[in-house]
């Protein structure tokens, strides 16, 4: 097996044997169970005339609630990715675990790529598993399915990968806890900067709008989150928001347009840059 895959396998094995995966699966099942119960309650809500809500209204409420629940899932994923990636390299350097391994014919680039790949597989698997379970639960409870479930999963997974990549980069130089905390704060700041950008759009203030644009370029997690939101919104809602003009765009839990293709291309470049920087940084680290 190529060394990159050996390191990736070790990373997955460690998460599995340290019961991180088990903990995430159990927590996810609990959240999905509760949310299914909650979503089911929407169908029993009655209006002033004592009638249950029409399907269109149920779909609209469900789509909005689903966005909030997905925000929580994406937050858990981003947080977990940042916290796990933070000590991924620095922890093993500090403990001495990497010493005997790096004395083998193992390139440092292979260590970085292997760890990214291993944790990336876990992030993608979690995103896919959690999305499948949650969407199935929502479908069962309300009969609603978001229009683009695959895109939704891809955007949420990509957001997790962004945090994983940032945490890994920081981990090549900083201690685990510092790297994890910085990655987490960066994610929150990225989200807030996105909100600021939305406000700028609403107020038609270019400077505020630029805050959002620049933050999406520096850390594309919020930009990807907007892609996930767009994938969950029914067409009727998008049409209504478009009709509302700039005001309709000033909502951190709404997306009027899908992420532009240049942004998606930039995300691919961003991953390549951050991984390249991680390899460069780790190669120069004294161990």
């Amino acid at each position: 097996m190529p060394p990159v895959l050996v390191i990736a396998r070790l990373t997955v094995q460690e998460s599995s044997r340290r019961r991180l995966l088990l903990a995430l699966v159990i927590l996810t099942l609990i959240v999905v169970g509760f949310s299914a119960w909650g979503f089911n309650k929407i169908t029993t809500v009655t209006n002033s005339a004592g009638e249950t809500l029409p399907t269109q209204q149920v779909d609209l409420i469900t789509s909005q609630l689903l966005i909030v629940v997905t925000f929580m899932f994406s937050g858990v994923l981003a947080l977990s990715a940042a916290v796990v990636a933070g000590p991924l390299i620095s922890g093993e350097v500090e403990s001495g675990l990497l010493l005997s391994m790096l004395a083998r014919p193992l390139r440092r680039s292979e260590v970085v790529l292997g760890k990214w790949l291993g944790l990336g597989i876990l992030v993608a698997a979690y995103a896919a598993g959690a999305a499948t379970l949650e969407l199935a639960a929502v479908d069962w409870a309300t009969g609603y399915l978001p229009p683009h479930p695959i895109e939704l999963t891809l955007f949420v997974a990509a957001e997790g990968l962004v945090l994983l990549s940032l945490g890994l980069l920081l981990s090549t130089r900083l201690s685990g806890i510092t790297a994890g905390v910085i990655a987490l704060v960066a994610w929150l700041m990225g989200w807030i900067a996105g909100v600021v950008g939305d406000i700028g759009t609403g107020l038609q203030n270019q400077a505020l709008e630029n805050v959002g644009v620049v933050s999406h370029l520096l850390l594309p997690s919020d930009g990807l989150w907007r892609g996930a939101i767009f994938a969950m919104e029914p067409d009727s809602l998008i049409a209504a928001m478009r009709a509302a003009g700039t005001f309709g765009r000033a909502n951190p839990f709404a997306a009027v347009d899908p992420p532009p293709v240049p942004f998606l291309l930039w995300v691919a470049i961003w991953f390549a840059l951050v991984l390249g920087l991680s390899i460069w940084s780790f190669r120069r680290r004294e161990i």
């Binding site: 060394p3 050996v6 010493l99 004395a103 014919p105 004294e286 161990i287």
Partner: protein, 321 residues
């Protein structure tokens, strides 16, 4: 640095690298951390198949030297070669084993899995892993713990496991950095036997240790390093040439004792005076001189200088300089 060095052309062509070149060679290898000089121009040669002891007090630069040779640290200046190829060469690392001073292995894996991982990274043919793992476990006495997780091991057992990992693939050169620091006397004895076994099959061993008696028992050649510099090196015989003589004597003044320094370096402690590097033929002259000064000789005990004597003397000389 490792990556950069990988791309650097080997100094010796592959054919030559296989034989005739020393196991380790360094030329003015230097490492500074900011203003601190960890290693100051280390130049040395370790022949193949020898057990080489690298001695020095804490902070002398021993571990830094090993890490530089393994490409874990980048030298500030100077060069190094392992098995005839530049430090950092990936192919050379297939033929090297390493037990770090800070030994730590995957606690979530079993002992056998850790060893199999090192077989995989070495990389050895998959068909040989089973035998390699079994042999390594037997060698370090962990056969009955093969399927236990490393996280449940004591420090001593983890060090044994690390030694086993360093031995997989029958390396031509093994770096052991304080290999008995966590071991009990039985474990230390076992490690000495393992080192002798390695030497018997022609493996060069680079042994970092403060345990001088251990080094004295197994090493063919030693280098003493202090403040990042080699202050003495040679074979054991070259280093331990002299004989020390301890004399228990009363009735001498301090001035009398000072006059006795003609017989060699004097270590004066109450009524015990030790003369290092004293030729045994001069012992009768020494006794006569003491008696002539009015001293009363109670005991004369010649003894061979130990590595510890020599080591302490070298450090004391270095301190004076």
């Amino acid at each position: 640095m490792a990556e950069v060095a990988e791309k650097t052309a080997a100094v010796f062509p592959p054919g030559e690298a296989a034989a005739g070149t020393p196991a380790v060679k360094t030329v003015e290898l230097t490492k500074r951390f900011g203003r601190t000089v960890a290693l100051a121009g280390l130049s040395m040669t370790v022949p193949r198949g020898e057990v080489f002891g690298f001695l020095g007090p804490n902070g002398a630069g021993k571990t830094t030297a090993v890490k530089l040779l393994l490409g874990l640290l980048t030298p500030t200046s100077g060069e190094g070669w392992l098995l005839g190829r530049r430090v950092g060469d990936l192919q050379t690392r297939r033929r090297i084993g390493y037990l770090p001073e800070l030994f730590r292995y995957q606690g979530w894996l079993t002992a056998a899995e850790v060893l199999a991982l090192h077989c995989e990274l070495a990389p050895l043919p998959r068909s040989s892993w089973k035998d390699e793992v079994r042999t390594a476990l037997e060698t370090v006495g962990l056969t009955d713990r093969a399927n236990d997780r490393v996280g449940t091991f004591s420090k001593g057992m983890q060090q044994r496991l690390g030694l086993g990992a360093a031995l997989v693939g029958e390396p031509e050169l093994v770096f052991l950095d304080e290999p008995t620091s966590a071991l009990d006397p039985v474990g230390r004895h076992d490690v000495r036997e393992i080192i002798r076994g390695l030497a018997a099959r022609g493996t060069a061993v680079f042994l970092n240790s403060h345990l001088l008696s251990e080094v004295e028992q197994v090493c063919d050649r030693v280098a003493v390093v202090d403040h990042g510099r080699v202050i003495a090196s040679g074979t054991m015989d070259e280093l331990l040439g002299g004989t020390a003589v301890r004399v228990r004597v009363t009735g001498l003044t301090q001035a009398d004792k000072n006059k006795l320094s003609d017989f060699g370096r004097v270590d004066d402690e109450d009524d015990q005076i030790t003369f290092t590097n004293l030729n045994p033929d001069r012992v009768p002259d020494l006794v006569a001189a003491i008696v002539a000064m009015g001293g009363r000789v109670h005991e004369v005990a010649p003894r061979h200088e130990t590595l510890e004597d020599r080591f302490l003397q070298l450090l004391a000389d270095e301190e004076k300089n």
